[in-house]
């Protein structure tokens, strides 16, 4: 499999690198850009970033393994992240997580990332999303949702085409 970064994305990436006096600083931003495009960070993507920034692949790989947002394999097309932490837990986020899992045929007791067989949805618990006053809160891809009742959750799922 060949790994190619489209020219417009590479131009965007080259621009990002100019934001820093030291190239290495751009690694997180590059990983975000590649993950947004490819859905996850493959070993080829890691090597590409390393070459681009003049680093060893391990310098990039250790970021992919440390930072929770980076994925080494493709998650679902729609990624549902439910807040697990206290204020949301008091506001029913564990019931919400369970609702998603039951509805999508996933294990309601597993906290980590689970993906449906058709690859359409991933569900996972994440830590405080800085929306604690409107508990329970969640994200569906880039969208942030607050005060998510089960009815609202079903609406959100319905909106995922």
């Amino acid at each position: 499999m060949s790994f190619t970064v489209p020219a417009n994305l590479e131009a965007e990436i080259d621009e990002l690198i100019t934001h820093y006096p030291v190239k290495r600083s751009a690694s997180l931003m590059l990983l975000h850009a590649l993950q947004e495009h490819f859905g996850h960070i493959s070993p080829e993507a890691t090597q590409w970033v390393a070459r681009k920034l003049g680093l060893q692949p391990i310098n990039v790989h250790e970021l992919v393994t440390f930072y929770p947002m980076f994925r080494q394999s493709a998650p679902g097309k729609y990624q549902i992240k439910v807040c697990r932490t206290l204020s949301c837990a008091l506001g029913g986020s564990h019931q919400l997580h369970e609702h998603f899992c039951t509805k999508l045929g996933l294990d309601p007791h597993a906290h980590g990332l689970q993906t449906t067989k058709d690859g359409k949805f991933s569900v996972e618990f994440v830590e405080c999303l800085a929306g604690c006053g409107m508990a329970p809160v969640m994200m569906c891809n880039e969208d942030f949702h607050e005060g998510v009742s089960t009815a609202k959750a079903d609406q959100i799922l319905g909106g995922c085409k």
Binding site: M29, F66, F70, C128, G133
Partner: protein, 474 residues
Amino acid sequence: MPQEFKLILKHLDNPGYTPDIECYLRHGGYDALKKALAMSPLDLADGKKKTPQEQLRDEVMKSGLRGRGGAGFSCGLKWSFADRRSGKPIYLICNADESEPGTFKDRQIIHKDPHQLIEGMIISCFANDVKLAYIYIRGEMPKGAKLLNTALKEARAKGFLGKNILGSGYDLEIHVHRGAGAYICGEETGLIESLEGKRPYPRIKPPYFPAVLGLYMCPTIVNNVETLCNVKHIATMGGAEFAKLGTPNNTGTRIVSLSGQVKRPGYYEIEVGKATIGQLINDPAFGGGLRPGRSLKAVIPGGSSSKVLKAGEKFKLKRKVEGKDVEVETDMLDLPYDFDSLQQAGTMSGSSAIIVIDDSVDIVGALANLSEFYAQESCGQCTPCREGSLWMSKTLHRLTHGGGRKQDAEYLAKIADNIPGGKTICAFGEACSWPVQSFVAKFKDEFVAKGAADEERRAKEAATGKKELAAAPH
């Protein structure tokens, strides 16, 4: 009657207020920056001159502004520590990592009034001769990052940013840098490592004080979003006027994030110390009280890392009455919400996030939830923190899943006591211990009872051979 006092939140929730620059300009936006850039050097008695930059830094010192990110350290002092003699560039980083559980104030500013933050940043950068600055925003705010990028573009187009800002000869560039889901990136030296493209392993102080050896080993100022917004208002009204807001040594306003079991959770800006914890929870202007039929059990007063307050707890607060120092017995609900009173009560206002816990809550479960957070988020560099946070979480997990023991309370306290106190590189060590130390000390009976009940049940099960508890799931 305690009231909201909207300085930073003044416009952002008003109908029709939008995050674009035109709207901001219509509301007097960037006037403070224009004023700052137009300042002239001040003649001093000894014939020397005080530069506009020095004057601005003096105003911030006079304002008494304390950092809004967690530690409450004097902003003016922090700026004065920046090494201006090294010949190296000085960097400024806005800490927009907002990830202390309970806290959701910076989110409001970033999403609804990004130019207020940018203006505060430009003024702060100008005052500190900074030419390159970053906004480190947590990865889970992709929209916020986009909004900030748009706002920066707009500011550049209007000449507020870039080369020769408004013809003043001052150059500044600001970029947005995104985190990727790790809480420890909020700790300033971890943040700096992360901005250098590395794992966010905090650096040991000394020698790595950001003011001297920060980003790229250059002097660096790290300030919270709200702190930088305040600088804009200090530039507008002057330090002395700002210092009249709030209470002595606790000046200005603070945005309180109120969550948990109150009727009206939300973010409320108050003059620091002009409302008590009880008012914030119960007053109709704020939390509006607990839900019907519920009574208060506990309050986490300053983000998840602060020590819990138990309902009914009393403290001796030092107060000045007619010039004399006296000690006044104060109920936890009557603690003025400020830096110093909470510190006197053995806790902290931290990130100014109040989490309200009512009597329907299993306190052991609440602590188990928080401990799981810390076990997840420890960066793993220091043995006491890495192992201790995991042990505490595992112990609490068994205590909430039928596997508890009577002595777990003491066991938890022992682990928690062995993490803080200079044994770890960063303050996360304290942050993960304080909830455990305080919950276990203040609600010891509940922890012991839970463990004892589990022991009894297991003994019965062993005798009868019948399981009473369905295998606990997660």
